[in-house]
């Protein structure tokens, strides 16, 4: 009987094998390995000794960690606020625009940077924001300002990072919002027109309230990535700005890959991940997103 079952499913076992091995070796095992490493203090001659929660305590006592956490919350707060609102504004403007070809062109152009890596975005904007001869500083010079060293100035670097994230991602979120607006029932709008509603009334009384579920989804999608920002900070930081913009994940990278303090590195990433997942679960519950999505 058992052999018969094995025979019946033999090909299925083979087909499930790559995924099973991958999940075990590159998902379960690293988590276990990481939890283990977070309780170890490495010895000089290799190996480690169990230190309990010592690594967790030293991370919590490290002012750099708290600084990184605050930076993460400020940066991702700004990125979420602009990333949710600016595309909403763009999508509504696109919907109101009476010229179809221009609408298509705008959507296509502003979507493009979403496909670029952060290295490409960084390379392009380092050139544009360069204090000697960069496009933006040349424009500032025309009105008698600058030059400003945007990427090396601790005052400017945070807003610049938030704005670059918005620049890169606004087309993507605008497409999501625009699709949601296009799928609304046109009869509601016709009825509103018959009742003599103005354009502004249609936006504020119809479009915006009907879009709220989509706004919730976009907010959650952005919030998922909030604690995980790494690439943009890693690529755009330098000696002058790293204290101002270092985030939790760059802290984890620096501790683990530069200082080889694997215990503290993994302890920090586990604490942040657990807190992040709990917050997200709470947000999902509080916003009732699951109900909204299926209705």
């Amino acid at each position: 009987m058992n052999r018969l079952r094995l025979r019946k499913y033999s090909q299925l076992y083979l087909m499930a094998l790559p995924a099973l091995i991958y999940f075990l070796v590159f998902s379960i095992y690293p988590v276990i390995q990481g939890l283990y490493m977070s309780t170890q203090k490495p010895l000089l001659l290799g190996g480690g000794v169990y230190v309990g929660l010592e690594n967790y305590r030293s991370v919590l006592q490290d002012s750099m960690f708290w600084q990184a956490l605050v930076n993460t919350l400020v940066l991702s707060g700004g990125m979420i606020a602009l990333g949710v609102s600016v595309p909403l504004f763009i999508a509504i403007a696109l919907h109101e625009l009476p010229f179809a070809p221009l609408r298509k062109l705008t959507q296509t152009v502003i979507y493009t940077p979403h496909l670029f890596s952060w290295v490409v975005v960084g390379g392009i904007w380092i050139q544009v924001l360069s204090p000697d001869g960069g496009l933006f500083n040349e424009l500032l010079k025309l009105v008698g300002l600058g030059p400003v060293h945007f990427l090396a100035d601790t005052v400017w670097i945070k807003p610049v990072l938030v704005l670059l994230s918005t620049w890169k991602g606004m087309g993507y979120n605008a497409v999501i919002y625009y699709a949601a607006i296009s799928s609304l029932d046109p009869q509601i709008y016709e009825a509103a027109t018959v009742d003599g509603a103005s354009r502004w009334q249609k936006i504020s009384k119809l479009t915006l309230p009907l879009l709220m579920p989509t706004v919730g989804v976009v907010f959650l999608l952005s919030a998922v990535g909030a604690l995980r920002i790494f690439d943009q900070v890693f690529i755009l930081r330098n000696a002058a700005t790293s204290r101002t913009i270092d985030v939790v994940m760059t802290y984890v990278y620096d501790k683990g890959m530069r200082e080889f303090r694997l215990g503290e590195s993994t302890a920090a990433s586990f604490m942040v991940t657990v807190v992040g997942l709990l917050t997200l679960g709470f947000l999902r519950k509080a916003m009732n997103v699951d109900d909204v999505e299926t209705s």
Binding site: Y9, Q11, L12, M15, P18, A19, Y22, F23, L24, F26, S27, P30, V31, G34, M37, A93, L94, E96, P98, L105, Q107, V109, Y111, T112, P113, F116, S117, V119, V120, G123, I124, I126, Q127, V128, L135, V175, I176, Y178, A179, A180, I181, S182, S183, D185, P186, T214, V217, R228, F230, F234, I235, L236, V252, G256, M257, L262, S265, T266, S269, T273
Partner: protein, 296 residues
């Protein structure tokens, strides 16, 4: 692009007599948005095709002043940018193919409710979807080290080879295939692998296309993994080389410092592949996003 799924609720192009001041303001906003996106890109493109002299002169570069391909030649030959370019091409192609294969096979096994390992596959999948890749980057480095995969293309191909999101997306396509079709094929003596390739893969072409495009873009842009796993300069991938040249400014071509035209040439080579797949992206990718995000 993506003019909505049904696109019923869209403003029509109106006759000139009905166009108001607000409409012209909207046009201005659109032109502003296009300029905001296009100007930095045009700036990079113009500089990449400028001569050395033109590249170091300050001023507004939106068009090449002295047309030249010297930047591309220095990047490609002297800085050996061809090497990371082809490395990335290899890793992207093989990695995307294996990702689609492993994911679709796993999705197929999930269709069989009495398959003994089904619960295990589903459980592990949801676990992996909960743990963010960034959170385990250092343990993942250790795993690759223990397996002797550091400084191999294999490490980059394996990274993200199976994804729960891909499996779920393809599972949804597979579910739409009527069960009677599978029964009929089985009565004809077809094994699971044959049914999978002949029946299930063809019906899920749109899903596979979306996954494939998503993978190509993602793997071409792969950054964290090569940063951690690859130190051998002959094996670095395009994003790492781009960072060295266009961001860190540490690369030098012989005795000369690297000028803006060379730096922007590497950026243009870096986005070149995206230009080729952009038309397909418009067709599949955006629909995929919309489907995924609004679940309709």
């Amino acid at each position: 692009m993506a003019s909505g799924k049904q696109g019923q609720n869209e403003a029509k192009t109106r006759p000139v007599s009905q166009i108001t001041l607000v409409d012209w303001i909207l046009v201005l906003i659109m032109v502003g948005l296009i300029a905001l996106t296009a100007a930095p890109l045009l700036n990079a493109l113009a500089l990449s095709f400028s001569s050395n002299m033109a590249a170091i002169q300050p001023g507004i570069h939106l068009w090449p002043k002295e047309w030249s391909t010297v930047g591309y030649r220095i990047a490609w030959r002297k800085l050996e940018f061809w090497r990371p370019f082809f490395n990335s091409l290899l890793v992207t192609t093989v990695g995307s193919f294996l990702h689609m294969l492993a994911g679709s096979m796993a999705a197929y096994t999930m269709l069989h409710r009495d398959f003994p390992l089904r619960r295990t596959v589903v459980g592990l999948m949801f676990f992996s979807m909960t743990v963010p890749g960034e959170a385990i980057m250092v343990p993942l480095y250790m795993v690759n080290k223990q397996l002797g995969l550091l400084n191999t293309y294999t490490s980059l191909i394996i990274a993200g080879m199976v994804s729960g999101f891909t499996i779920l997306l393809l599972f949804n396509y597979f579910r739409s295939v009527p069960g009677s079709l599978m029964e009929a094929a089985r009565l004809d003596g077809a094994g699971d692998f044959l049914i999978f390739t002949k029946v299930f893969l063809p019906v899920s072409k749109p899903g596979l296309a979306a996954v494939g495009l998503f993978q190509i873009v993602g793997r071409w842009n792969q950054f964290r993994e090569p940063l951690l796993y690859i130190t051998d300069s002959a094996k670095i991938t395009i994003q790492i080389a781009l960072r060295q040249i266009a961001v860190l400014d540490t690369a030098t071509s012989g005795t000369d410092i690297v000028l803006a035209n060379t730096r922007m040439a590497t950026v243009m080579i870096g986005v070149s592949i995206l230009v080729f797949i952009f038309p397909f992206v418009q067709k599949h990718f955006v629909q995929g996003i919309v489907l995924g995000a609004t679940k309709e």
